[in-house]
């Protein structure tokens, strides 16, 4: 049984991506995870976010009647491109949302050119 009940299904979390002048912010919906179950890897040009849902076990003393939430594994890869920096990437996991902040490289930031007479 390769696809048995205990084999987690890998799903891509829904994301919002926003951009400011200085950074790119990715917000991914990953519920039912603790901070330590989330991983972020940068390999070359790719940023991969992963997470394993931990609260999938049937609570002690209970039997399962109906299940839709488990077992799931979240995984999604983004291409960083040369407009973003590889270091200085920050991540926060709060209320089931993983927020990744990626700073933009200097060359991607707009430059204002003053007009002289």
């Amino acid at each position: 049984m390769a696809n048995g009940e205990n084999t987690p299904r890998v799903i891509a979390p829904s994301v919002n991506i926003q951009e400011t002048e200085k950074e790119v912010v990715i917000e991914a919906e990953m519920t039912g995870l603790k901070k330590e179950d989330v991983s972020l890897d940068v390999k070359g040009d790719e940023l991969t976010i992963k997470g394993v849902k931990r609260d999938c076990e049937v609570p002690k003393g209970y039997t399962a009647i109906y299940r839709e939430r488990c077992p799931f594994e979240y995984s999604r890869t983004f291409i960083l491109g040369d407009e973003t920096k590889r270091d200085g990437i920050k991540a926060k996991h709060e209320n089931g949302i993983l927020k990744v902040t990626i700073p933009k490289s200097e060359k991607a930031q707009p430059k204002r050119i003053e007009i002289t007479d």
Partner: protein
């Protein structure tokens, strides 16, 4: 000997052109039904999303877990009526500041509603709920009369 006269091309049946227009029509249909961005502002996205749930049962309690990412506790509304549990709420979009521009918006915003039939009648007054890591956990104690009873029957 008859000479076949030259005809303009529009008289000739062109199956591929017809297939192309069919494809365009299909694309329009999918654009509409899959809820692309303009539909959200039109309010047509309402009821398009509802949380995934797990339901567990023990001797004394029913437990319901629901995945609702990125909510405030105050925005979730739980009600119980007989053996029906209703989870309602509204996911509010953070007000976009001017210097931010959206590249991708896949997360759902708006109101949602999910009603579930519980495996037994519960005591509405004793329902407890908590919200952590985007998971809503509700514990609903069963009514005394709904709990399984053991009756000893003497066999003669």
């Amino acid at each position: 000997m008859a000479i076949v006269p030259w005809r303009p091309k529009k008289d000739v049946w062109q199956p591929f052109r017809e297939m192309e227009s069919l494809q365009n029509e299909m694309n329009k249909l999918f654009d509409f039904s899959l809820g692309r961005y303009p539909l959200r502002s039109m309010g047509l996205m309402e009821g398009m999303w509802s949380p995934s749930v797990d339901v567990f049962e023990s001797k004394d309690n029913v437990m319901v877990k629901a995945d609702i990412p990125g909510m405030k506790k105050e925005d979730i509304d739980i009600s119980v009526h007989g053996d029906t549990l209703t989870i309602k709420g509204e996911k509010k979009e953070e007000t976009e500041s001017k210097e931010k521009s959206s590249v991708k918006t896949e997360r759902f915003y708006g109101s949602f509603n999910r009603a579930l039939t519980l495996p037994s009648e519960v005591d509405e007054a004793k329902v407890k709920a908590s919200y952590k890591d985007g998971v809503l956990e509700i514990i609903l104690p069963k009514k005394e009369e709904a709990k399984p009873k053991q009756i000893n029957v003497d066999i003669e």
